[in-house]
């Protein structure tokens, strides 16, 4: 219990002193996860919108696959990306293994299905409201999709933030493709794992507190966005 309190005291002093190692790790974590969120949002929202609006053969199977991929095990994603980017792999010539780019790729693969599946649900519900009126107005498919994306923007932001939350808390994939190299690919989750195994609980705890603070901020943002969306949609 005393060790625990001491770890907390050290953690807070590291945060308050704005320890450079700590800031570097936090900065890289946010850069990697925000980049992954942006890439995944571009792909996931487009896929979600198309599946929500279009009716095509095999759509049911596509939905099953999309929903199943939400539960992709991070270590499996890490392994696949590792095999693709390793020197002997098909993308080895890019020399991306053990770089932040590889970590962004892995996190993007991990959260794209989440963003696609959740946005599909949001957009399909809204399309259910609009579909008959769109048909009456002869709204082209592309216009229908852009209209849905714009009108559901608040709900879709919550979807994107949910993806970010998943990415920033993930450890299995980034440790495989990033290698947890100091000052290069060390992010909060991999650093926590390493420092805990080394017994440096203060840094691990400080990172844990920051990670928790980010989770709280993301959730607060989600709640606020949901309230705004509800006000606009159903007031």
């Amino acid at each position: 219990m005393q060790d625990f309190a001491e770890a907390f005291r050290l953690a807070f002093s590291l945060i308050l002193e704005a320890d450079s190692d700590l800031l570097e790790i936090i900065g890289l974590s946010l850069t990697v996860s925000l980049s992954a969120m942006l890439i995944s949002s571009l792909i996931g929202l487009a896929v979600g919108a198309v599946v929500a609006v279009l009716r095509f053969p095999g759509r049911g199977a596509a939905l099953v696959v999309m929903n199943s991929l939400m539960g992709l095990p991070p270590v499996v994603v890490g392994l696949v990306v590792y095999l693709l980017l390793s020197r002997a792999g098909p993308l080895g010539f890019l020399e991306l293994l053990y770089t932040p780019t590889a970590m962004i790729i892995a996190q993007s693969i991990l959260i794209t299905p989440i963003i696609a599946a959740l946005s599909r649900q949001v957009l399909e519900d809204l399309y259910g409201e609009y579909a008959e009126q769109f048909r009456s107005f002869c709204v082209p498919t592309r216009t229908a999709i852009t209209t849905l994306l714009w009108d559901a923007r608040y709900s879709l932001l919550t979807v994107a933030l949910a993806g970010f939350g998943r990415a920033v808390a993930e450890v299995g994939a980034v440790i495989i493709v990033g290698g947890n190299i100091a000052h290069s690919t060390r992010v909060m989750t991999t650093a926590i794992a390493l420092e805990t195994s080394k017994g440096d609980l203060a840094l691990a705890m400080a990172l844990g507190i920051v990670l928790l603070a980010i989770a709280i901020i993301v959730n607060a943002a989600l709640m606020s966005l949901r309230a705004t969306a509800t006000r606009y949609a159903y007031a």
Binding site: E129, Y130, S136, F137, C138, V139, T143, T147, Y232, A233
Partner: protein
């Protein structure tokens, strides 16, 4: 106002008013049927609709009125029969010259003005002046910046009607647009519909309200169990229905 809503008001005389006839009319439907899940919901409907009139569709719940409207608007394909608008088969180009307002207004999650802009852009004619004129016409100009879904039920329906009229349709389908609205809102909607009619738009209007039929209708289609039992001038149907079912409906009895 109450006087205007008096349900015993005399039926509107059948006279063609000063309205430029729609080029889409006449509409001719022959042997129109619709089956869903093995159940025939529209049954061998033959119908002729002319320009320059307000046609009202009446009948008990489940008669197939809304389905018939959707079939005529090309939103649902009939399982049998044919529809021609001015001699041509149904195409999307024809639907672009029509508009429909639903019982429950479907408004975009945007401002009142943006809802109008949406349809103006669809027809490639978005400009502030047009939007201003349309909103002024339906009495919503002061609410232009409000989120559409913050409006009252009557205002929402007026916005839905304004949006449909912004398309300058030759035929306007109205699926019980005044159901569950207060008397003042009903009158405002009727006024807008009358103006659209007078400017040459063919109106096809579903209602359960006999007073409204007396105030607006030139001709009435009476439906029961997916079939058109009567299509007659409003005064004939409302005063001397030709079928027992029509008489029961007008008397407020259960229609068998």
């Amino acid at each position: 106002m109450l006087e205007a809503l008096n349900r015993t008001a005399p039926a509107k005389p059948v006279v063609a008013r000063q309205a430029a006839p729609s080029h889409l009319l006449p509409m001719r439907a022959r042997g129109l049927s619709l089956e869903i899940g093995g159940k025939r919901l529209i049954d061998q409907v033959d119908l002729d609709l002319q320009a320059g009139t307000i046609t009202m569709i009446m009948g008990p719940n489940g008669a197939g009125k809304s389905l018939l409207l959707r079939v005529l608007h090309g939103m649902i394909s009939p399982t049998a029969g044919s529809i021609s608008w001015s001699g041509s088969g149904f195409t999307e180009a024809i639907r672009r010259r029509q508009a429909m307002v639903f019982q429950r207004p479907v408004l975009l999650r945007r401002s009142v003005a943006a809802n109008i802009d949406f349809v103006l852009r669809l027809r490639g004619s978005a400009d502030e002046e047009k939007r201003h004129a349309i909103l002024e016409h339906v009495g919503l100009l002061a609410l232009a910046r409000q989120p559409a879904r913050l409006l009252s039920g009557g205002e929402q329906q007026r916005l839905a009607l304004a949006r449909a009229l912004a398309l300058q349709p030759e035929v306007l389908f109205l699926d019980e647009p005044t159901a569950s609205l207060d008397p003042a809102s009903v009158l405002r909607i009727e006024e807008i519909v009358q103006n659209a009619h007078l400017s040459g738009t063919k109106i096809i209007f579903i209602t359960h309200d006999l007073g409204q039929a007396r105030r607006l209708a030139d001709d009435i289609i009476f439906m029961h169990r997916g079939r058109v039992l009567e299509h007659a001038p409003a005064s004939h149907f409302l005063n001397q229905p030709a079928t027992a079912q029509g008489a029961d409906f007008l008397a407020g009895r259960i229609v068998l």
